[in-house]
Each structure stands twice: as C-alpha cells, then as structure tokens.
C-alpha cells in the first residue's frame, strides 16, 4: 500500500531536476488520527505540497471518529488565519458548520458577588501620547469614576449588545475588535475532510494495530487489516491516546491538575437562542463551570467539573436550574489537563490534543493545533535522516502552551468563591513562576509582562485581571500630565464615540441572516 508510485512521467517532464545537499527529502507523510486535528493537518499539508516538484505523499490513516453531534468548537479570532492558510472560503465553511460569530466571552460568578465581565477580542480605549489607556482608567477609578473598563472597549460593548462590528475610519484608530467562532464540530470536520479529499489527500480509514520503532524513530506502522505503512515523517493526530508518539517517549507528560482541577467534561445541547447573543457565557458554580455557546442549529453546552465533588447527573441538574435551558443529549468524557514536554520526537510530531490537553476555556480549542501547524509550516523537515527542527519546534510550542495554560490557570486562581473546596484549593495553590510574576506586576503597576510566545496580548491579560478583580495599586506617573478635566473630556468622548458607532452597526442576528443563512 505504500504510495511511492505516483505517475512519475507527468511530473518529471515538467520540472527541471534540482540537486540537493541533503539526500533524503521527505517523500511520504503519514498522519494517524481522527477528527478535526487529523483533517486540518492533512488539508494544510496537502494544500502546501500539491504543486510541489518533490512529490510528497500525504496519507491520512483515519481512525474511527470520536465526535458526537453534540461536539462543538469555540475558537479564537486567530482561527481565521488558519482558514486562510488552508484556502477555505469562510462563509461557506461557517454555513456548513452551523457556525456563528462570537465577539468575546462573558464570565459570571467567578469572583464572588462581583458583576460579570466580558473578555472581548479588542483593546480598551485609546492610548494618549503613547501611554496605555488602562493607566488612565486606573487613575480615574481611584478618583471615584465608576465606569467599568469594558465600557471603553468597542468589542465588549458590541458583544453585550449583540452587534456585529463594522469598522469605519474613526473606529479603526482605537479598536481592533475581532470575532472568534462557534462551530459545530461534526459538520465542520466533515467540511474540512471534503476539502482535503477534493485536493487529493490519500485517505485510508482503519485502526492502528502496531507501531515499529527503530533507533528512536518510527520505522513503520501496521493497521488492523494487516496493511503496513512506511513513511518518512509521522504526524500523531490521534487525540489524547497519542497512539504514535507514546511509543517514542519516556516520562514526557507534564500534568497540570493541581492548577486546573476539573477532570470531567460534559457536552450537551439546548435549543437555539434568538436573537443570537454576541458572546459565549461562561459561569462558575460550586464544582466547576458551564459554558453556553450559540450555534445556528442549537446551543452548545459544556460543563467542566471535578468528579471529586460532584457527578454528571448532579451538575446537569444544577446547570439546568442555573441557566433555565432545556438541556438534552448529554455525554461525559474524562479529562486530564497537561502536555507532552516534547511534542516532536525523532520522526514523529504530535499535534492538537495528542500534544496538549487544555480546558475548553477561553476559546482555545483548536488553537494549539493551529499554533503547531503554523510552526510545522515553517519547520517542516527537509530531510528524513535526522530532524534537528524538532528542538526549536519543541521550545516554541512549550512557550505557547505554557502561556495559554497560565491564562486558564489565572481564571481559577483568581476566583473569590470562598468556602468551596474545589475553588479554595486552586486559590491557594502555588502558581507557575511566570504567572505569579505577571499577576504581581499587574497588581503593582498595571503592566503586563508579556513573554516571547504569547497567544494572549496585553489587552487580553488586562481584561482577565481586571475582570477577576485584581486591583492595580499604582499607575504610570506620566498620567498626571493630564488634568482631571482633560481626562474627563477624553473619557466622555470615547464613550460617546463608542455609543454612536455601536448604534450604526447591524445586530449580530441580522448579519448572520445575511451572510450565513
């Protein structure tokens, strides 16, 4: 079954012969996996190589799907970049996936009696003379101003009012509002798979029976029907089972349960919401949290909790009471947050959930798959004999993964749900050093210490910290250049401007009806 036998004639006559210093170009890539991880990887690689003079075979060995009709993805605005890399026509893809735009996430009940907050995909206010707007807000708040920070974010206001952000010139100067997506996982994956097959990905459905390892590399894999497959490069997209890479590793798992204590995820559905809200709703409760994600054909629900403190039945009842939604078709899966320390070993790289297992919080589903694929795009091995690319890939992935993890941990750690053991434990646990320093600096001076490889930017961390009531104690002294009167005028102008702009925008419902229905 080994596919080295493409019609050679066709290609040879067209292309001149290039000579390489490296002697073993990758001729065959085997992706072993299932669902979105596997199909997105296959599509991206096939898209990248289909006009290549090197004749690289991309074969997807597709394992039986784990998806249910209830599954969904909540993804960040940056997912758009992946869509453009795979050449997707986004409206068609969204339509197929019953997809919907989402301008942020609304967090409720994480911080005791505090008001909910929106983490929108946007900046706050406008910087004055190069000084971060947040610093002005801190000063004004200290002086008694009561307007919440998010009121100065066009994206947050749009999310709350269920508007679809349309930019004009004036808005562009202070807002970068963007939307993420909610997608129905089964339909989305089906559309991606169709696209991958349409451009010639070789598709072999089957079950993995064996993996042969030689000198720290995978030499071949065999399927349940006896087929043996030899490839130069193997991509593990098999999900948390990590069927390929686990054969190459020793002590390679970094577990994060002490910071992210939930160990069960319940997925379910509820009827469609109308009109469509502009955000996903993320509410904490005694033993975990529940997320509500509008889709076009239903509302997706996930409940993330710890089995130490509750059961699926109990949390479902609680969530139904809490949300007033009619919840159906619930399924539960176990879950352990963590990542592989090395995601690329020898000639095998693990992508997506075979590499990292994060909570479905902060719309990070598929995000680390996306980061991995873009790194792989820059570092795709150019020689089958030895892949030094792995080192730099692993370093960079590790940076991204830990920073996203820290962002999730911060939600837990900064909770104010006193007297509940699930929440008390994570509030008092010792934090990863980088996160501890980030929080301290923000508390001290409202500055975000960004690392090199960060998914979330200054405004995201600011939104998270402020939303969770981290009070910044001192502000940039340069803020005092402006008199209180000047600041009041600037603030009023911004608020007025946001109000006017928002009024002009279409509702999310209207936009969806025009573009997606």
């Amino acid at each position: 079954m080994c596919q080295h036998t493409k019609p050679l004639l066709l290609t040879i006559v067209q292309r001149s012969c290039e000579v390489y210093f490296l002697n073993n170009p990758i001729k065959k890539v085997a992706i072993v996996g299932r669902d979105a991880d596997a199909w997105l990887t296959a599509l991206m690689l096939q898209q990248g190589f289909r006009s290549s003079s090197q004749m690289i075979d991309v074969e997807l060995i597709e394992l039986p799907s784990h998806l249910t009709p209830q599954d969904f993805f909540s993804v960040l605005p940056s997912h758009k970049i992946l869509h453009s890399a795979i050449g997707a026509r986004e409206n068609l893809l969204l339509r197929a996936a019953k997809g919907c735009y989402c301008f942020g996430q609304r967090f409720s009940n994480w911080s005791g009696g505090s008001a909910p907050f929106i983490h929108a995909y946007d900046r706050f206010g406008a910087d004055f003379e190069g000084i971060d707007f947040y610093q002005f807000w801190v000063k004004a708040s200290v002086s008694g101003m009561k307007v919440p920070l998010e009121e100065f974010s066009l994206g947050a206001v749009a999310a709350k009012q269920a508007k679809y952000v349309v930019f004009d010139e004036a808005t562009e100067t202070f807002s970068q509002a963007a939307h993420g997506y909610h997608l129905s996982a089964l339909d989305y994956t089906k559309a991606i798979a169709q696209a991958a097959l349409a451009i010639g990905v070789k598709h072999t459905p089957g079950e993995l029976a064996g993996v042969k390892v030689q000198n720290g590399n995978i030499s071949s894999i065999s399927l349940a029907d006896g087929t043996e497959i030899n490839a130069d490069f193997y991509i593990d997209a098999s999900g948390s089972e990590a069927l390929l890479i686990k054969n190459l590793e020793v002590d390679n798992i970094d577990g994060w349960s002490k910071w992210l204590p939930a160990n069960r995820i319940v997925i379910a559905s509820a009827p469609t919401l109308e009109p469509l809200p502009g955000f996903s709703q993320i509410s904490a409760f005694k033993e975990g949290w529940v997320g509500i994600y509008p889709l076009l054909d239903r509302t997706a629900i996930n409940i993330v909790y710890s089995s130490e403190y509750s059961t699926a039945k109990a949390v479902l009842e609680k969530v139904a009471a809490l949300t007033g939604l009619q919840i159906t078709n619930a399924t539960e899966i176990p879950f352990a947050p963590g990542a592989r320390k090395k995601q690329w070993i020898g000639n095998c790289v693990a992508v997506g959930s075979s590499a990292v297992s994060l909570e479905p919080l902060d719309a990070t589903q598929l995000h680390l798959l996306h980061v991995g694929l873009s790194l792989l795009r820059s570092l795709f091995p150019n020689d089958a004999a030895g892949m030094p690319e792995a080192d730099i890939y692993n370093q960079k992935m590790c940076g991204f993964v830990e920073n996203v993890r820290d962002y999730q941990i911060a939600h837990y750690h900064l909770n104010k749900r006193f007297g509940e053991p699930f929440w008390d434990a994570v509030r008092t646990v010792e934090l990863p050093a980088a996160l501890r320093e980030k929080i301290k600096l923000f508390e001290s001076r409202g500055i975000v210490a960004l690392d090199e490889d960060e998914t979330f930017k200054q405004e995201d961390w600011t939104s998270l910290f402020v939303g969770h009531n981290v009070h910044t104690q001192s502000f940039d002294p340069l803020v005092n250049k402006f008199s209180d009167e000047e600041l009041i005028i600037k603030f009023q102008q911004l608020l007025g401007h946001i109000k006017t702009e928002i009024e002009k925008m279409p509702s999310l419902q209207a936009q969806v009806e025009i573009t997606l229905l």
């Binding site: 150019n382 320093e437 600096l441 250049k481």
Partner: protein
C-alpha cells in the same frame, strides 16, 4: 497631585542629553524636575556617529525637526552598512535597512533565492534589495508609504556628528527647563538603610540631591559601577576587541549613503561620511596588534587626509547585569559596551530611555517594575550581542590569529542554534523583543558565506524557472527605478545642507 520627581542625570554626552530631552519632552515639568550635571573637563566618547532607523522615531517622538537636526549636526543619510573583507578577504556585502523581495510561491524570498543560487541561476542577494542598490549607486530619496511600490521597501538612518547632536539636544533641553550644572562629581551619598542614592557631591562643595539618578557617566559608570558595585557580565571572550583609535579625515566624493566597515588583521575599520568630514576608526584587539601599529594602520587606510591625531579609546565588551538598581538607572556606556559594528550604541540608549518612559519611576523604587525593565533590556542586549558575535564567528579568513580564534571559539548556545538551523534549512526565528529582524540575519549569513544546505520544502511549489523569472523581474524593477533617484549629495544639498 504629587510633587514632581527630582531626576538627576549624571553626564552630558549623547546619552545624557538624549535622556534629558526625552524626559523633558515626554514627561514634562509637571512630572519631573531635571538636573543634568556635566563637566567640560571630561570629554564625551562620541564614537557612535552612525545610527539606525529607530533614531528617526525617537527624534519624532521628542519633537525634533529632521532637516533642522541634520543641518545642525552635519548629518548625512545612511541606508545600511557595507561590510568589506568580512567573512573572507575580497568579500563585500551590504546589511541594508530594507528587505529583499516579497515571498515567492509560498516561501520566503531568500529561500527561493537560495534555491536559484545553488544552481548558479541567481545574482548576489544584494541585487534584490532596493536599499542596497540605492546605497551602492550613492542615491537617496524618502521612501514612499504605498507598499505596492518598490521604493517603499526601506527605511533610513543618519550619520551625524554625535557631539553636535548632544549640543543640539542641550539647546532644546535648556529651553525645556533642564537645569544644567557644570561640575565634577567627587562623592556619591547613599542612604545607609535603604541603599538608595540620596545625593551627589561636586568638587566645588555643592551637593545635589534627587529622587532618581540616571547614570550617563560613560565608561566610568560612576553611580552604577563604581558606587553600587553592580555585577558586570563580561562578554570579551566572544567580542575580543578592547581598543579603538578614532580620527576624522577630509571629505571625499561621492558622498556614500552608507557606513563602511572593513575587516582587518586585528579588528575592523569604520568609515562614516558626514557633510564636512569623514569619521574613521579602527576597532582592534590589543592582543594581536600594538597601539602604534594600529594607529598607523588606521591612517594608512584613510581615503582622505587625516584631520588630527588618532585618539585612543579603551573598552571591554559586556554589560552590568542589572542596569536599573533601586533608584539608579545606567544608560549608555555606563550600563555596558558593545562595539559599534552595527551602530547599536545610540539604539541601546534609545531602548533604555523608551523603557524608562514606559516604566516611569516613583519616589520609592518598585522592585517589580525594575525587574520587568531589566528583563526587557536583557533581551535587547543579548540579541545584539549574538548578532555582533556572528560577524566575527562566521569567517574563512586564515590571514590572522584573530579570525582563527573567532571562527573556532564556542559561541552562546542561542547563537549556535540560529546558525545551525539556518544552515540546515534557512529558518530564521522572529522575536518580539530585540532589534535585528529577518533581513539583517539573512544579510550577514549569506554575506559571510553561510550557504543553506537545504530549503523550506514548501519553496519547491514553484519551479526553478518561475523563481528565476521573478528574480529577474525584481532585479530589473530595482535597476530601472534607482536610476531616477537623486544622488545623495543632491538630496543633502536640497534638504539639509549644513552651514559649513
């Protein structure tokens, strides 16, 4: 409203006055009261006569009129640095302030170029940079904003007389109420319990107190190094040059819009053309050449008559581990020294000032803010350091011991990885903090003979013939456009001719 912060700047060279004017312009009198102490007895080092494009942003931010500044400092334009005899004798390339073409067929331009080069189908990579072509033709005009045009693909910096620039800034500073104190510091008074600096005492008995002290005292590092005994990170095992002779010479024509750096037996010689003269210097390692020989060699290699005797400067590569400690921040040579091979001295002053403005101090030092400042400045220094080491390390010269040593020395791990992965497949990582981006690394890697052994596999999506056609058309586009650009001399005469 709180009282303004009393800031005392010690030293009035380029660093001191840049700092004073930036603080006066951006922070202003309401926020801080500025005192600058300088002594006419102490000469400023003023080696940094060539700058980087970031200089323009800095000048804009502090409200400097470009043409006026250029007139007053005898400035010329700089489009890059020409490296001669680096890598190998007879070799020459330009590190441009601009890029080398757009991505072709799903891969970076340089990847496709490397493919074509391997089959001897490509010209030298310099031929595909608009900035380099302009530089070598001695032409200049301002870049256009529209990214669709080839003459938008570059930026520019200045060559100027650094002491005139300091004078120029001094005038602005004094207009903006910077108090200038003439005097020599003989004593620094620290608080015995908190360790913060409280005041400095001058030779004439005056005492000047402050809340915050900025050490711009140059190599002496009066406050940070001498007074606080800060720990120095010595990088001289990688950057072995420890002395330089500097001398101006008579102006020669044509007026080149680039700096030249020529590698020599024991170091390298710079050539910086100004409107009225040319600045020159020989940076060398005293282990491989005597002072007399070095001075003679410098004079011998001038292209115009020397205007004075060579002046000796001594230094050691490295930096203080923490340039901000409690209420004392060192900026410029007092915080560390990296040789001017890539004109980074003024850039690093600028980085320090901009971060000082971002992490503006209060009366009581905030350890967390100080740590963050130091973290970011560390990135900047270490990445410049690696880039400089690369120039020395990547060579095939067998004519002198310096070059053999540098080729064989072990370099920082961060640099080894960069070199190895480039060699293997042309991968260049990009980063958030730190100066040199992809085109800079490409220019030195390829300019000093490091060939890619393999390519980004995605580059092969385009046939080599198609790549070649695109290279040719870029080459022609650049050639055709550059002939219409005015000469550098004409530009200077028209825009900012100094009253000489």
């Amino acid at each position: 409203m709180s009282e303004p912060l009393e800031i005392v700047i010690v030293g009035g060279g380029t660093a001191g006055w840049m700092c004073a004017v930036a603080l006066a312009s951006v922070a202003g009198n309401k926020i801080c009261k500025l005192t600058l102490i300088e002594s006419a007895e102490i000469a400023s080092v003023g080696v940094g006569e060539a700058t980087l494009p970031q200089m323009k942003e800095f000048n804009d931010r502090i409200g400097i009129n470009e043409a006026d500044m250029m007139r007053q400092t005898n400035a010329t334009i700089k489009l890059g640095i020409q490296f001669v005899d680096w890598g190998a004798i007879g070799n020459s390339y330009v590190h441009p302030f601009g890029k080398y073409g757009n991505p072709i067929g799903g891969a970076y331009f340089y990847q496709q170029w490397a493919r074509a080069d391997q089959q001897n189908l490509a010209k030298n990579i310099d031929s595909y940079s608009y900035a380099i072509e302009c530089a070598l033709q001695n032409r200049f005009e301002f870049p256009v904003a529209d990214k669709n045009y080839i003459n938008s693909t570059y930026s520019y910096a200045y060559h100027f007389d650094a002491s005139l620039y300091a004078d120029y800034l001094r005038k602005i500073g004094e207009q903006k109420n910077v108090r200038r104190v003439e005097g020599k510091i003989i004593h620094v008074l620290n608080n015995s319990t908190t360790g913060v600096i409280e005041s400095v005492e001058l030779e004439d008995g005056r005492s000047i107190r402050g809340d915050f002290f900025i050490d711009c005292s140059g190599f002496r590092s009066l406050l940070l190094g001498q007074n606080l005994n800060a720990e120095f990170d010595d990088w001289s095992k990688w950057l072995v040059c420890d002395k330089a002779f500097a001398v101006p010479s008579e102006k020669t024509l044509p007026l080149t819009p680039y700096t030249r750096s020529t590698a020599k037996k024991a170091g390298w010689q710079w050539r910086i053309p100004l409107q009225h003269r040319t600045g020159n210097g020989y940076v060398f390692c005293s282990e491989y050449i005597s002072d007399d020989e070095a001075a003679a060699s410098l004079l011998q290699d001038l292209d115009g008559k020397a205007l004075g005797d060579p002046r000796l400067i001594k230094f050691k590569a490295g930096r203080y581990k923490k340039s901000w400690y409690k209420n004392c921040l060192a900026i410029g040579l007092s915080s560390g020294f990296l040789e001017p091979l890539e004109s980074t001295s003024i850039y690093l002053i600028q980085v320090a000032i901009l971060n000082l403005l971002k992490f503006f101090p209060r009366k009581t030092p905030d350890e967390l803010v100080i740590n963050e400042y130091n973290r970011i400045v560390d990135y900047e220094y270490e990445r410049v350091r690696d880039f400089l080491i690369l120039h020395y390390h990547l060579n095939q010269r067998n004519d002198a011991e310096l070059w053999r040593y540098c080729r064989e020395m072990s370099v920082p791990e961060s640099l080894t990885q960069k070199i190895e992965i480039f060699k293997r497949r042309g991968f260049i990582d990009s980063y958030k903090y730190g100066l040199f981006a992809q085109p800079s690394w490409i220019s030195v890697f390829t300019g000093q003979g490091l060939k890619q052994q393999g390519f980004d596999p995605f580059a092969l999506n385009l046939s080599i013939e198609d790549v070649n056609n695109q290279l040719e058309s870029l080459f022609t586009e650049i050639k055709n456009r550059v002939v219409d650009v005015p000469t550098h001399e004409a530009f200077i005469a028209d825009y900012c001719a100094a009253k000489l």
